[in-house]
């Protein structure tokens, strides 16, 4: 398979990049590591005429701050750096684990945090070659107008497949978006829509420049990923969880976020409510896991069956919470 021809623009500054992507209009796309974009271009899922490269913009690089004051991570930071960063590993293990489990070591060296947060939603009717999609009939996400997974669905149900997005939500991180009209910040949760096509709240001409992690302040956190193999695979379920426990073990803060169960990461609010003000016992965790798995509505468009993936949401939430509560 060949990569279609395109024009590559290499801006020197963020301002220049913003101008270039705005000028390119619908023909333009941003590229950082390119580990997802280029294979997708070969399959004609995207056909940009212009790519604006973000990889070498100094405004998008670097990790600063510390867990006491909070940290700022440049969006073009390679994923492997996050997986290895001592402070992130120690205090934001949800992020280190999520970033360290994306794809393969080689891809994590090229792929960036911003790229993983903005990674295209996936569906095994869509992540296929042009000829394959033509054979089965094009879907609404590209070249067609129906959803092949859920034929009655008015919207695309492609799956949010970012590992770092649920982790960042559980860590209550915010993203910095830079556009022609200046900068704005959004909680990571607000970056996503539950729509497989329009899955990002980021405007096309906006550039995700940085991710801000709040001070860790005793927040225990973890990330559990379900996939067939220990490497390569996108998540078919991701569970990011964070808890604060006070002196006697009472839960004062809880976030449980499921990845790869919908077109955006899904926060299990009912389960969180069950935990607040309580001590984490095995029974309570089981109850919370039951509550968390209810909103999970996987569809038949990734690896393994949907019934199995739904069932695993309960198992993985329970395991994540047990880990945070130091239960065996």
């Amino acid at each position: 398979m060949r990569l279609p021809a395109f024009r590559y623009l290499a801006p020197k500054t963020l301002a220049e990049a913003s101008r270039m992507i705005a000028d390119a209009g619908p023909d333009g796309m941003l590229v950082s590591g390119g580990t997802d974009l280029f294979p997708n271009m070969k399959r004609l899922q995207f056909d940009p005429r212009i790519l604006v490269g973000l990889r070498h913009l100094s405004e998008l690089l670097g990790v600063s701050g510390d867990p006491h004051r909070g940290m700022r991570i440049g969006a073009a930071t390679p994923l492997h750096q996050l997986g290895l960063h001592p402070a992130i590993r120690a205090r934001y293990p949800a992020l280190a684990t999520a970033a360290g489990s994306v794809a393969t070591p080689q891809i994590r060296r090229m792929g960036t945090l911003g790229g993983n947060l903005c990674v295209d939603t996936r569906c095994n009717y869509y992540n296929q070659s042009y000829e394959w999609r033509r054979a089965i009939g094009f879907c609404m996400k590209r070249d067609g107008d129906v959803c092949l997974v859920a034929p009655g669905s008015p919207r695309c149900v492609a799956v949010s497949s970012s590992d770092t997005a649920p982790a960042m939500m559980a860590l209550q991180a915010t993203v910095v978006l830079s556009g022609p009209d200046g900068e704005r910040t959004l909680p990571v949760a607000a970056l996503y829509h539950d729509d497989g096509m329009a899955y990002l709240a980021k405007r096309p001409e906006e550039i995700l420049t940085a991710i801000l992690l709040p001070p860790v302040d005793g927040l225990r956190n973890t990330y559990w990923k379900l996939r067939r193999r220990g490497s390569f695979d996108f998540p078919i379920l991701g569970v990011a969880a964070s808890l604060r426990l006070d002196g006697d073990g009472t839960c004062t803060d809880a976030r449980i976020v499921l990845g790869a169960v919908a077109s955006r990461p899904v926060e299990a609010i009912e389960a969180e409510k069950l935990l607040l003000g309580q001590r984490l016992t095995s029974d309570l965790i089981e109850e919370a896991a039951m509550a968390a798995y209810r909103p999970a509505k996987p569809l038949d468009n990734t690896d393994l069956t949907l019934a199995y993936r739904k069932r695993m949401a309960r198992v993985f939430v329970a395991r994540a919470l047990r880990e945070l509560a130091n239960l065996p």
């Binding site: 296929q128 000829e131 394959w132 054979a135 067939r228 193999r229 490497s231 390569f232 695979d233 198992v315």
Partner: protein, 788 residues
């Protein structure tokens, strides 16, 4: 040829492969690395429908695209072909019908790949869509929708019914009879290298094809037939294959198409399949439903066995008739089976054609049989390793289906894996979630018959020695990574008393090398090894005669080793190899010799008796220890012990390499690989979504070599390329049962199946046997047993 010499200087040593340095430095030229001046690039247009009639093809717009040199349809290549003479059902490009999504319909040669691809998208094909038959059940039910117009009826490609001895009488004598149904999912080879081919039709009217093929001789024959050229005007060169595993053993559409395009354009034409196209070329493991009914005595001796197989063949014949026979052939060569009945059927479906994948037709029944035996052992209260051990076939015996057994190392293989794994302390004794399983198996060391009937040798070798002492070995065999080039060098070096690095090996070129039938059926080491010994010994006799004259030492006291020919009784008295070569050339003229090998004839005379015979069977036993997470169904394979009766390890390093590769491949089939379809289309034709194990899923392995020195093999050697895959898959299933107490009677044993079975167990429901397709088998051919 299997006599043991006092001492070998090359055989049995863990030597480097002759092509190792080129491989690890990236210097090896694979087919896609080749380029010729003025070369064009080809692309195939493939069917988007699983089953459709072609009404019209308009190539006009494609031809008009700048950069396009030729557009080809099936009208220019009307002659059908196929690997087996009985299944000549393939077309290079479909003319009337397409039979699976991916079936080639048209081809373009253009200045570059992008232009060829763009031109393919401009070809307009009008189809009349026909019902797609995507399973054995559907294909059997719709006799009115025939995928092919040959075969006994409906969509049955081939049916078999054979009975050896009276099985009912055997069941009547049994203390215990049980039946089991299994399903073994289809899987694909997944070689690292995608198929590629380059053709050049020269101004002299001669055609040359360079291709990543395991079988240049069969490709040569197919080209002569389809292109209507004299075989003598066609040269096929097989490049080193970046993995084959059976997936490059058929003549393929793309090979014929680039030849025709080169003939039309007068330019070299190259094609390299995409990974997705490799999934369509396929010829992989048949999905098979299997049924076993076996009677045993209280002691575990088998009194009778009745076996049925139902093969989902995909859209074309390929090797399918052989695959079908193989599912029923080798049940009898491990444990003694005095009465045996085999009924089988291969059915056409609208999927990429299945064919030979490592173990060809035998992993599916072997898996089912070894799980079936595990259940029988439990019912009888016997240790499953003991039960197998007690009822082995005897060496130098004949089975009930008239297969001749050579040496049998299965008992020692079982003993060794049982001992090394600590089986006795673990089986049924590990904590919940941890389990251990055992299985045995056998495989052929080369098929007894060629693909097409002929009385010619299966393997030919030519050796020449020049006056500088240079030795060149010429052989048609194809190195697909297994080390066949190295084996030629080791054997010739051993016989001539020189080092493998002194030898130039020239292989897989139909113009330059004598025919070897190809790298399939685990035949190459045994057959080319024997042919090389024969050729080399002719030359050695000439060298010895010349050297003996010079040294004044009688012929039978001479030895060749370490680049010298010397007196066995007085090793100081000797001359160098180069000097001996010069003396021999002076005495005899130009030094050259040929050797060839033909396997012994099989004993059986019944129809189907051609599949199963071999010069000697290899034997293997595996113990698998694993951990099951009962909540998620995920399996971690902790360790695999694999003992293999190799006869004689010509190079133990390469034997272990084949064992480890086979264990890895077996675990993929056992745990995750699935050639899955949805809405008529391959569901996951990519290396990301077709799940096969990574390093991280690959367990610790212990390879144990058992040597039984079979007289049929070179220095006593047997095969190792395929047979070692077989026992691993059932050992996994048996270990799962040992770990969590549920039987998964199918592969892959994916996490969801395990969770489901455990759920059924909790609710007190047995996870029931699968259903058999509805087939009425013909009356069996009854064959009177001649075996002991």
């Amino acid at each position: 040829m299997g006599e043991e010499k006092e001492e070998y200087s090359i055989i049995g040593r863990p030597l480097i492969k002759v092509d190792a340095m080129a491989k690890v430095t990236g210097e090896t030229k694979f087919a896609d690395d080749l380029a010729l001046p003025r070369m064009l690039h080809a692309k195939l247009l493939r069917s988007p429908h699983p089953h459709a009639r072609i009404l019209s093809i308009d190539t006009g717009p494609a031809e008009a695209l700048p950069g396009v040199h030729a557009v080809l349809t099936g009208r220019a290549l009307p002659i059908k072909f196929g690997i087996l003479p009985v299944s000549q059902d393939e077309e290079a490009l479909a003319t009337e019908k397409v039979r699976y999504v991916g079936d080639p319909v048209a081809a373009v040669a253009a200045v570059d790949e992008e232009t060829a691809e763009a031109a393919c998208r401009l070809i307009r094909v009008e189809y009349e869509v026909l019902p797609a038959l995507m399973s054995v059940g559907e294909a059997l039910a719709r006799e009115d929708v025939r995928i092919h117009d040959y075969g006994p009826r409906g969509n049955i490609h081939k049916e078999v019914a054979l009975e050896f001895g009276d099985v009912e009488e055997g069941f009547a004598q049994a203390d215990h009879v049980r039946e089991d149904v299994f399903f073994y999912e289809g899987s694909t080879h997944l070689p690292m290298e995608q198929h590629a081919a380059l053709a050049a039709h020269g101004p002299d009217g001669k055609l040359c094809l360079w291709s990543s093929t395991q079988t240049p001789h069969y490709v040569h024959r197919a080209l002569a037939k389809v292109l209507e050229l004299p075989a003598s005007h066609i040269r096929v060169i097989a490049l080193p294959n970046g993995g084959g595993f059976g997936g490059k053993s058929d003549p393929f559409s793309h090979e014929i198409v680039v030849c025709k395009l080169s003939m039309l354009t007068g330019r070299p034409v190259k094609i390299c399949l995409t990974r997705e196209e490799v999934f369509y070329a396929h010829r992989g493991r048949h999905p098979v439903t299997l049924w076993f009914k076996t009677g045993v005595t209280r002691g575990g001796a088998i009194t009778a066995m009745h076996f049925r197989s139902y093969l989902d063949g995909g859209a074309y014949g390929s090797y399918g008739v052989a695959s079908l026979y193989y599912t029923g052939a080798l049940q009898t060569v491990t444990y003694r089976v005095p009465r045996y009945k085999f009924e089988g059927v291969r059915v056409f479906t609208n999927k990429p054609p299945c064919g030979p994948k490592r173990g060809h037709g035998t992993p599916q029944p072997r898996c089912a049989l070894e799980v079936h035996l595990d259940k029988l052992a439990e019912a009888l209260g016997l240790d499953p390793s003991e039960m197998r051990r007690r009822h082995l076939v005897q060496p130098n015996s004949v089975t009930v289906n008239q297969l001749r057994i050579g040496t049998v190392g299965l008992g020692e293989c079982l003993d060794r894996v049982v001992e090394r794994s600590g089986w006795k302390a673990k089986h049924r004794k590990l904590p919940f979630g941890h389990g251990i399983g055992v299985a045995g198996s056998a495989y052929i060391s080369g098929a007894g018959l060629p693909i097409y009937w002929n009385a010619l040798p299966h393997s030919g070798v030519q050796i020449k020695i020049d006056r500088g002492g240079g030795v060149a070995v010429f052989c048609g065999s194809t190195d697909i990574g297994q080390g066949s080039d190295s084996v030629l060098a080791y054997v010739a070096a051993e016989e001539l008393g020189i080092e493998p690095e002194d030898i130039r090996v020239v292989t897989a070129d139909t113009d330059l090398t004598p025919v070897d039938l190809g790298s399939y059926s685990s035949r190459v080491t045994l057959m080319t090894g024997n042919a090389t010994i024969q050729a080399a010994r002719k030359l050695k006799a000439q060298l010895f005669e010349a050297a003996g004259e010079k040294l004044g030492v009688p012929f039978d006291r001479l030895r060749a080793a370490h680049r010298r020919i010397f007196d066995r009784d007085n090793p100081e008295a000797g001359i160098g190899f180069v000097e001996a070569a010069v003396l021999a050339e002076a005495k005899f003229g130009t030094l050259g010799a040929v050797g060839s090998y033909t396997p012994p004839k099989g004993l059986g005379k019944y129809k189907g008796a051609g599949v199963g015979p071999t010069p000697t069977y290899s034997y293997s036993a595996a113990v698998v220890e694993l951990t099951v997470d009962p909540e998620t169904g995920f399996i971690t394979v902790d360790k695999v012990w694999l003992a293999h009766d190799i006869g004689k390890a010509i190079n133990p390093l390469l034997v272990i390499g084949q064992i480890e590769g086979s264990v890895y491949m077996a675990l993929g089939e056992a745990l995750m690989e699935e050639q899955a379809f949805r809405k008529g289309v391959h569901k996951i034709p990519s290396m990301l979504e077709y799940k096969s194990p990574t390093f991280l899923e690959t367990p610790q392995m212990e390879s144990i070599l058992v040597e039984t020195l079979d007289p049929a093999g070179p220095y006593g050697a047997k095969e190792v390329g395929q047979g070692v895959l077989l026992p691993v898959v059932p050992a996994v299933l048996n270990a799962i049962y040992d770990a969590v107490g549920v039987r998964i009677d199918e592969v892959p044993a994916s996490p969801e199946k395990i969770v489901k079975a455990l759920e059924a167990q909790r609710r007190g429901r047995a996870s029931g046997n699968g259903r058999l397709p509805s087939v009425t088998f013909p009356e069996p051919t009854v064959v009177q047993p001649t075996g002991a």
